[in-house]
Symmetry: D2
Subunit: 260 residues, 4 copies
């Protein structure tokens, strides 16, 4: 599937500020960047660095008073939709080094608090069958509600509140998976079905030797997600982090399926 | 039913300290104090004040270096075990003034976080039937585990952890009830079946014009609880609050049914 | 000093809903209600009940689809501005029964977390001098910033964030005072100098036998605050609590000094 | 300086359990492993994987009923004690990729909450001078107190409590540094002066092109710390993580300076 992505960001800054942008689709075997163009109102040349875990890239800008970003891309995604439930468990001691940290709690995913719930609700599931059950559980127990969470909302609150936006779905799913012994991370992505159209956040499980995408909101299938960045939770994958105050003028994200 | 209560507390203090004791069984229509005796190693005469919401009494002591407390009582309890599910809902606007605050969140009972769960899990229940369902739910979903919680454990954590001691059971039940529109408070009490023997904490719902006791741990029935104090949560009903450091030497609570 | 108060509330409701209103100025010896008028778009007669701790009154309404409230009042305030620092400490064991609960932590005022800070920063202060120092400390260390806090912001967060609105100032001041052994509660009030004009929240300390008002934002003096309600924290003193969804159309609070 | 390290761990397990051990001193240019020996009561051969950020190694064991670990090592440390205050700031946009995540909040280091405090208390400091000031501030404002924190204690609580153990010192220092724009991580280490003798936790700042060790407890200097592992906070650097229940029989850590 081929996606066309068009992003416009326009923010007022208070003077000059360093800004970290995570807006570029990542090149990877199952996701080819056909073309892309990033323009930023930066005083200095953009500085690109590799993204977390070697996925995609971060881009540093240095703008004064106003930050404008235009990003357009065409991405060819060829990612099979593997049924999670068919994937075997990997015992912790067999996990590759780079997945171990994703078993541990993070700022918004207090996986240390959910072990009792996991043991009670899913006593006999491990690995892929557990991941599939958790995906269903989160999708079935949360209600999507714009504006229902804030920058301090954690998985623990969402578990009781039962509502949130995509990042809350991802946080809860990731926290539960980690509590169940499955390495899990958060992923920012572009997808055509996101409503309202915006940057999207989903989860990723390490199962049978690879990271597997899963969207608890049900808005996007793995095969139509253009991955931007991965991380422990929303902190690592924010599309824009400004070191200073920023006030929104405009932000639009348009993602369409290209009919070939 | 008649209970005999015997409490011994022995703490080392760091110098002289004010100490608030909530250890005396409360006299009330369904709970008659047949006899009781409180002795405290206080430098000054004990100062008794009425307990929260007019229930029982608090006693201030002023001890130096060591605090020793002996409390013995015989309490006659005649409290029918009203089936919660039979009690009607009171709409919020019909609640008596003194119950309204017990609809609101407190330090350990973040009822503001549970509305989504209530709406989802118990969409059609209100009043007594909801109280009965919540009592079952908490009793059925938590595991009693000594030492599994600390002084900062809240209802939200217990909701995910799924284990705790009596105060955690009471906190979660109270938080859920408040989120469901039922005034609910925490109660400290003596009961013969508590294992390990100790001060006990239970919940209380305001339903059909009266406060109704409920023990989510299942250890005690309303008819065999000798109420000591009521409050928003564990903060209000602690059996001992010392304004200074206190180190435990001995603490025993013995409660027996008196065979007449 | 005489205050004229004019409040207009206009909310859309989702069907019929019970609503608790705490908008009426409280009659008390140092605050005389010269005249007042409350009109609410209620389907049933308003039901008034006494406020927390016997201060003021709460009013229950039952409106359908739309809730409109008009409240006007003229209040004569004659409250001396007692210097806090001149007021003696009351040892805990001498506190009246009704003040003891206000030594304890509540939902937004985790006083149990601040003892270390109190011991370190104000090691030799107690009672009135401590209250005065805390008032200065909070006023001097927080920055007023509209929109900087949410419904889950607690005193602990504000202590680190160093910004907030009036309720955050009050929460932190109350939490610190309790940790320092001074009974403290939160108070909702009308005051002429509040900017932007709105319901106001301040703190109240129990010192030398009476509750003493203190506004850490510095916007209002005790002598120009028309007290509405008192409570443990913002949960108890919210001007409006709707049991159902409510969407704001209009809310204006106008408070003016009447020149006699 | 040469350190001799001797560790004995002895735990009862509930059946067979995967266990992740982070106990081996890391080989690195300024820390040479002269000799080391790790013996674990594992049913299977130990499985070593590289540690977080390529520092040291993690070792997976699989023991049944009882886990016994003996680790001895001799480590030669040659690490100059660079004065932090002399190190220049690196603007965020110049940071290397692998440091960027350490600007972000984690489970126990809510750096997102401390920006206000940083701006207020250290308005004119950046980079090394800020790191030095923060190290002094944390060391000067916390009191070391065994048993004063639990597994849910975060930097925010410690900031108010003002006491803790080494991990709490490290968490607060790391959270403050990140809020001040300095990449910071937590480090587990062996050091001879730790009292009581145990695994130690310190902080690490990225300044002038390298990670710089700092111990806010003041127990150890950079030149006498044998680094074991690095991570976001205590979650990443725990010396032992068991996937199942473990009960302590014995745990001793002995670190001595070898007189050559």
């Amino acid at each position: 599937m081929r996606l066309k992505i068009d992003v416009v960001l326009d923010y007022d800054l208070d003077g000059a500020a360093d800004t970290l942008l995570l807006v570029e689709a990542a090149g990877m075997p199952d996701q080819i960047i056909v073309s892309q163009d990033l323009w930023v109102s930066s005083l200095e040349p953009l500085r690109a660095t590799v993204g977390s875990e070697g996925v995609g890239q971060r881009c540093w800008a240095y703008a004064e008073n106003r930050l404008k970003v235009n990003y357009t891309a065409t991405v060819e995604i060829d990612r099979p939709d593997v049924p999670l439930a068919s994937l075997a468990e990997t015992p912790p001691r067999m996990l590759p080094a780079e997945t171990v940290n994703y078993l541990l709690p993070s700022r918004y995913c207090e996986s240390d608090q959910f072990e009792g719930f996991l043991a009670q609700e899913f006593p006999n599931l491990r690995g892929g069958p557990l991941a599939a059950a958790l995906l269903d559980w989160v999708g079935g127990h949360l209600t999507y509600q714009s504006g229902s969470s804030t920058g301090v909302t954690t998985a623990l609150m969402t578990f009781a509140n039962r509502h949130g936006v995509c990042r809350d779905y991802a946080h809860l799913l990731v926290a539960l998976a980690r509590a169940g012994g499955i390495p899990a991370r958060c992923v920012s992505a572009y997808a055509p079905g996101v409503d309202p159209p915006d940057f999207h956040a989903v989860a990723q499980f390490w199962l049978e030797g690879a990271w597997r995408l899963a969207d608890a909101t049900g808005m996007a299938k793995p095969g139509e997600l253009a991955v931007v960045a991965v991380g422990h939770d929303a902190t690592d994958i924010a599309f824009m982090t400004t070191f200073g105050a920023a006030i929104l003028n405009e932000q639009t994200v348009t993602v369409t399926r290209e009919i070939v």
